[in-house]
Amino acid sequence: MTAVARRRREYGGRFKYALLLPAVIWVIAFTFLPVLSVIRYSFANYVLGEGVTGYVGFANYLDVLTSDQFWHSIAVTAIYVAITVPVETILGFIAAWLVNLGAPGSRGFRTIIGAPLFTLEVAIGYLGVTMFSSQGGVVAVALSAIGIDVPWMSTPEGGLAAAILLDIWRWTSFIFLIVLAALSSIPSDLYDAAILDAKSHWQVMWRLGIPLAWPVASIAILLRTIEGLKVFAIPFALTTGGPGTSTQTFSAMDYLTTIQFFDFGKGSAMGVAFLIIVSAIITVFFRQMRKRLD
């Protein structure tokens, strides 16, 4: 430890704990205690109005893990994230790179391309129903004019594809704004140096832009992945999980189980099972992040 660091440590004293502890206590009270009670419910038989009537061991888990609906919703969520996050990252990065060139009019483009981040996802989902309708929906009609006829709203694949397109529309702006912020703080002499070495614009982007934007972009990708795994509003508003339950994401299914059918035991078991699956994915990400945060 350097002398400065040691002095800081002493300097902090009780003060640093006074700053940190309220937030820590809040998170423990409002996140970790709820999680503990979710774990408890997952082993319980919960009856609405009576509360926990008894414990059933792993019966809820068995129910969940042997249900096709659970695994189907996991698959839908996985497909959703596997497509939206990379596409949003690539589109967001390219758009940010182009806007960052600072061509006349860039500000206007920045404003427009960033705007979807501030829309209501549920409203966008409902709007999507009309956009993808085969009866005069703007997207369906435009695509069918160039020979792409997709039964958007009547098939599982079409419904999921429509939800994914809307998600890309809504969330590319998030990656865009974050990467743009990172790119715009690159000092211009770095560009000068890169131009001398590089043969093409493409090379400058590849060698300078991507490496410098990566630390920030990786946080954005992590946040998008986390949010994507929890996706609810857009697909739910667009298809209500239908036809049948074919486009139900995990969050939508868990929501219906717990809130509509008040099956708290099964809903909690579902949640814990999902959390375990997701944690495995996120831990890999967090290892990467840890280096960045130090």
């Binding site: 902090g12 004293g13 640093k16 940190l20 937030a23 820590v24 809040w26 998170v27 970790f32 709820p34 009670s37 390219i94 806007v99 060139l101 061509a103 404003t111 427009i112 705007a115 829309t119 209501l120 996802e121 409203a123 966008i124 409902y126 709007l127 009309t130 309708s133 005069g136 703007v138 009609v141 529309w169 702006s173 974050i178 743009l180 912020a181 990172a182 715009s184 703080s185 000068d192 131009i195 614009h201 630390p215 920030v216 949010e227 795994l229 929890k230 609810f232 509003a233 508003a237 209500t240 929501y255 717990t258 809130i259 809903g267 909690s268 999902f274 959390l275 996120i282 840890r290 945060l293």
Partner: protein
């Protein structure tokens, strides 16, 4: 600022850049334009192929706008959303910013990066998972269907943003300025409140906008934890399907009205976005 790359570009590559930017802008604008057109259609015209241009293809009407604007439920929900989003922003900052500062400036027995990740880890919880305990918790506290209940709830989720983003911002503030203040005899609190915080204002503004936008957008908890008096706009929009089937024209109006408050904020803070959102990672 014009990038050197642009200045060195040929006419052809400039044209390509503009083409791509225009394509992106069109892609972005289509749903907005579609919402505008649909908001002045009748429900019969909504699913009418070819009804695209007002007055030419269909007779526009302001009925849907009137319906939403004169609906007291919609007005209440709108007010709820503003109050809850603002309340969340303030409360999450009050909790998160000091913690972020502590993690940026001081050493703890557990590493600052680990504590930061711990804060972030609670965002991994799927919302539906914590819905039940939150529901029961708010019932016990008597906060079901109240603004306070929602604010508590949303602050919990958004605390992670406040901590992660602001920690990076504070790490960018030069410690030399702080050291100078200490030499002058400033207390740690004064250093934080009078020096570091004002120097981090741009980051603070951006964090606020993000938290506001996320709270504004949230529909799942809002519809589960409120029933009437505290229903937010997002929850109202979500619920419109079950109450009377989706009225797609009203949904279009809602799309447009729903974007207004966060976008107003966005316009105000655009110039701050550059620094705040970079998480301080790229240093010039």
């Amino acid at each position: 600022m014009i990038n050197v790359l642009w200045l060195r570009s040929s006419l052809l590559s400039r044209a390509i850049v503009y083409l791509l930017l225009i394509a992106a802008a069109v892609f972005t604008l289509i749903p907005f334009l579609w919402a505008m057109v649909n908001s002045i259609k009748t429900s019969t015209d909504t699913f009418q192929p070819g009804a695209v241009i007002p007055f030419v293809n269909f007779q526009p009407t302001l009925d849907s706008w009137r319906e939403v604007l004169s609906d007291p439920q919609a007005t209440n929900a709108f007010i709820s959303s503003v109050v809850v989003s603002l309340g969340t922003t303030i409360f999450a900052l009050i909790l998160g910013v000091p913690a972020a500062y502590a993690l940026a400036r001081f050493r703890f027995p557990i590493g600052g990066a680990d504590i930061t990740l711990w804060f972030l880890s609670q965002r991994v919880l799927p919302p539906a998972v914590v819905l039940v305990p939150f529901y029961l918790l708010l019932v016990n506290l008597g906060l079901i269907d109240t603004w306070t209940g929602l604010i508590f709830c949303y602050s919990t989720f958004n605390l992670a943003f406040a901590v992660v983003i602001m920690r990076d911002i504070f790490r960018d503030v030069s410690s030399e300025i702080e050291d100078a203040a200490k030499v002058e005899g400033a207390t740690p609190w004064q250093v934080f409140w009078k020096i570091s915080l004002p120097l981090s204002m741009d980051g603070l503004v951006v964090t606020s906008v993000l938290i506001f936008a996320f709270s504004w957008n949230e529909a799942l908890f809002a519809s589960a934890l409120t029933s009437q008096s505290a229903t937010t706009f997002a929850a109202l929009v979500l619920a419109s399907r079950s109450t009377r089937g989706v009225d797609f024209n009203v949904a279009s109006v809602n799309t447009l009205i729903g974007i207004v408050p966060p976008v107003i904020l966005y316009f105000f803070v655009q110039r701050y976005l550059a620094r705040g959102l970079s998480f301080g990672a790229v240093k010039g």
